[in-house]
């Protein structure tokens, strides 16, 4: 039986960039089923997704990327898909990278992470402050998981069936937790995480997801999340 893969595209007010993203995806990987999760958009994102031939799941209000991804994972489980690739709606992720992520799953990884910084990925400029924050996060995750990870906030990732089943219940909703904390959860659950260098492009539309102060608050919240979660785990482990 062939492996069935679903591309999940979380989208919030992405009517302008979604059509091109869907077209490119269709051209690069025609065998892929595509589900767009419209996270309570106020524009015509859902219509754009339908016009582009994608299955559309629509949240009644905005819940955050993590919730959109979880909805996509639950849809994948419901329809019995073997794999899920999460792709950004704004066209940052080169559809050609999907094949590289899937190869990593073929090689036994449960979670394949598309990295902008790893050796072999072309230069991608994100600004000094953002870069420093991401290096800090990557350092924390490396220390906790003992895995060679350089880009822990990348939203371009693929999950195998095992990861799918775990994350359909556990995927966190908060910003940053949905990219970073989820890796720690996967690691704790014994899922193998592998990073794959990927070429990324500048955004084709929409706004970057956060401003500086908000980002700082989110970082602090994430650290509390990681700390409390580790504490919970150590209690669970000792009992």
């Amino acid at each position: 039986m062939p492996i069935r893969t679903l591309a999940v595209i979380p989208a919030f007010n992405e009517e302008s960039s979604l059509p091109a993203t869907l077209r490119e995806l269709r051209a690069a990987a025609p065998e892929l089923a595509v589900a767009v999760v419209d996270d309570g958009s106020t524009d015509a994102t859902s219509a754009a997704a339908r016009a582009g031939g994608a299955t559309t799941l629509r949240h009644p209000f905005n819940l955050g990327v993590g919730a959109a991804v979880r909805t996509g994972l639950r849809y994948a489980l419901e329809r019995d898909f073997d794999r899920v690739v999460v792709v950004d709606a704004d066209g940052q992720h080169d559809a050609a990278g999907i094949a590289a992520l899937c190869r990593a799953l073929d090689d036994g990884a449960s979670v394949a992470l598309g990295s902008r910084f790893g050796t072999g990925s072309p230069h991608y400029d994100i600004g000094a402050m953002r870069r420093r924050g991401q290096q800090l996060l990557a350092g924390v995750v490396r220390r906790l998981t003992h895995r060679e990870l350089t880009d822990v906030t990348s939203g371009f990732r693929a999950f195998d069936r095992k990861a799918l089943e775990f994350l359909a219940a556990e995927y966190p909703a908060e910003f940053l937790a949905d990219t970073v904390e989820v890796l720690l959860k996967c690691h704790a659950a014994g899922l193998a995480i592998v990073e794959v260098p990927i070429a990324m492009r500048p955004r084709s539309g929409g706004r970057p997801s956060s401003r500086h102060l908000k980002l700082l608050i989110n970082y602090l919240r994430l650290l509390i999340g990681i700390a409390s979660w580790r504490w919970r785990r150590s209690i669970g482990g000792s009992s």
């Binding site: 299955t55 799941l57 949240h59 209000f61 819940l63 849809y75 019995d80 359909a168």
Partner: protein
């Protein structure tokens, strides 16, 4: 130093005001419960304050006695301290309740998205087996 005891500062009129205010509060809370605007567990929370406040307002010596027992020299501080502690506990409880509600709302919204998509599909492409099991929250 002139020893002005707090008991003489608080007038009879003030006592009456406190008692009347408490009575009104109790009345409002009961009304809300009867109109089903307030869950009875929260009603119990606020009524317990009234139950503590009324005797203290009616018999001020009670507070004085309690403060002496706790080693607090200025009796009204006892009341303020208790009020702070109580409101803090209530705020923490509400944060907890709110977190739980947010997690549930999120799960419901996801569920709605899945169900809507299922309904919009032409029936022949719909999976024929029963609906997948409801997601249990990870808490």
């Amino acid at each position: 130093m002139a020893a002005i005891h707090w008991r003489f500062v608080m007038s009879t009129r003030a006592h009456i005001v406190v008692i009347v205010a408490t009575a009104i509060t109790i009345g409002v809370i009961f009304r809300l419960v009867r109109l089903q605007q307030l869950r009875s567990k929260y009603a119990l929370l606020w009524l317990s304050i009234a139950i503590v406040l009324v005797p203290l307002a009616a018999w001020p010596r009670l507070l004085e006695w309690l403060s002496a027992r706790l080693g607090i020299a200025y009796a009204p501080t006892t009341l303020l301290l208790a009020a702070c502690a109580f409101l803090f506990a209530v705020a923490v409880h509400f944060s907890w309740e709110l977190s739980r509600l947010e997690a549930r709302t999120r799960t419901l919204a996801e569920e709605i998205a899945l169900l809507r998509t299922r309904l919009e599909e032409p029936s022949e492409s719909r999976p024929t087996d029963a609906l997948p099991p409801l997601l249990r929250d990870a808490e």
